[in-house]
Symmetry: C2
């Protein structure tokens, strides 16, 4: 990625979550060496390396200390430290949803706002906050767990150990589940696997159950945004992740329900918009944050 | 108030909320003139005036634009502007709960933390946020409406027009109501007026209904703190306002329930403590903020 946000090359590496730390990180190092060679000719001009990963990254030492228990070998290790050593340049790690917010701020829908919340509706719900033009990380670097805002005190149990978490109501996984339930109640048999993407597509095409599902999700998202706005007084709410491909089918109910969950003075003038960078948000944000920290 | 946080003189002025703007602000001006004269002798050395008021203060122009509809004449007017002109020194207005957070940061329980949330449990619930050592105001200055975090999606209706607001479950008013309900259910007739202070006192003395009420409030407060910590990753949760005089009777259940509502990594090491400045928090905070803005 260049300083102006152009992605020169990208690649994906399959990962077995049961692998050792080296078994996970070394293939990443090798693939990056490959990309640098392709970029080629003269000596590679690599200023810094930005890294987005799931979980809680301690901003003090870059160690991952939980929140992605499905990859046990990453626990209490610093991917940034290992990769920095391999390439002899500074490397910086960040939670992937925080990276996505940094990406939208630098090069996407966030360019127009100095204060916004981004939610990424994927399998889970991630989030990132930008306040006074800067990515907000929190005391230790763990901020932005918006999927774990409690939106229903006696609600569904969540992986995090709490109940009623936002993630259980509006993540991609939740949307697929709620759509399947709605189909089932109406005696309609779902054919094949129901992905959130499929629900979004069907909603856009006018499928009644899919639209209802998006309406429900929109109401929960509006409630979460309303609470966050009441606390933080932001200019914009940005919706990203795979589910956001539903576009207006999802954004319209969010905007419609928002005033039910927020002080009129606070939600007045607040934009509810789709993220712009899709899957590249994390890449661009990790790069932007690394460039920024390098300069700091 | 001196720069080091000593309150030299204070006074209170009764106010009729139906008065005109001048009818409300002039008695304040007169009482301040009186205090300055008492301080006396030589020319009064007044550097700046800090003001805390209920409602939403636009940080751009200091105008109050809602959130205290019970005092209609303040709407869209700037108390700061009027008072600054009367004394020929800069004056700065701030939401009163934000002022209280500034006070605890400068001179109270917040001195030990650079990142905290303060809730003030009075008739209503106010709140203030400190992040990276600074009072957080939000895009327009309306941040900190923590009483209007939705904690129960189908919950009680609130004055703000939303439902399930935190304020309906743990404010002083809510605590008095819940205590009266508990007494009623158990066939116990409440004698006299039930103030939140009385409930707090009785809880400390061991009254079973009062302790239950504090237990319920503690659970709701823990839920609100848990959601806020998941979003903002703070070091401390500070409990102020009249209800906080219940002390450990309230703080203990909050601490006990907090892990049920927050990621273990995020609530680990977080302090839950009582505010220290009581009713002076707003005075000291308004002064601290005015001194800071004067210097900025």
């Amino acid at each position: 990625v260049t300083r102006t946000g152009e992605i020169l090359r990208k690649t994906a590496v399959a990962m077995d979550p049961r692998e050792s730390f080296e078994g996970i990180v070394e293939p990443v190092v090798q693939s990056l060496r490959g990309l640098l060679q392709e970029e080629g000719g003269g000596p590679p001009v690599l200023a810094t390396i930005g890294i987005g990963t799931p979980g809680f990254i301690d901003k003090k030492d870059g160690c991952l200390i939980g929140g992605c228990e499905n990859i046990p070998s990453l626990q209490r290790r610093s991917v940034a430290h290992h990769i920095a050593r391999a390439f002899g340049v500074p490397a910086f790690a960040e939670n992937d949803a925080t990276s996505a917010a940094a990406g939208e701020l630098a090069f996407g829908a966030g360019r127009r706002y100095a204060n916004f919340v981004l939610i990424t509706l994927g399998t889970a719900i991630g989030g990132g906050l930008v306040m006074d033009g800067k990515v907000y990380r929190g005391w230790r670097g763990f901020a932005g767990e918006i999927g774990h805002l409690c939106i229903s005190s006696d609600g569904l149990w969540c992986n995090c150990g709490s109940r009623g978490c936002f993630e259980q109501y509006a993540s991609g996984k939740a949307i697929a589940r709620i759509y399947a339930e709605k189909l089932g109640k109406r005696g309609l048999c779902p054919a094949g696997e129901l992905t959130p993407k499929l629900v979004a597509e069907r909603a856009r095409e006018g499928d009644a159950c899919a639209r209802d599902t998006m309406e429900d999700a929109g109401r929960w998202i509006a409630q979460a945004f309303g609470s966050i706005l009441n606390i933080l007084d932001l200019e914009a709410c940005i919706v990203g992740g795979g589910v956001s491909e539903a576009g207006e089918t999802l954004l319209e109910p969010i905007r419609r329900h928002l005033p039910d969950h927020c002080w009129p003075q606070i939600c007045s003038g607040v934009a509810v918009v789709a993220a712009e960078l899709r899957n590249d948000a994390g890449i661009l944000g990790a790069a932007a944050q690394a460039f920024e920290r390098l300069g700091a």
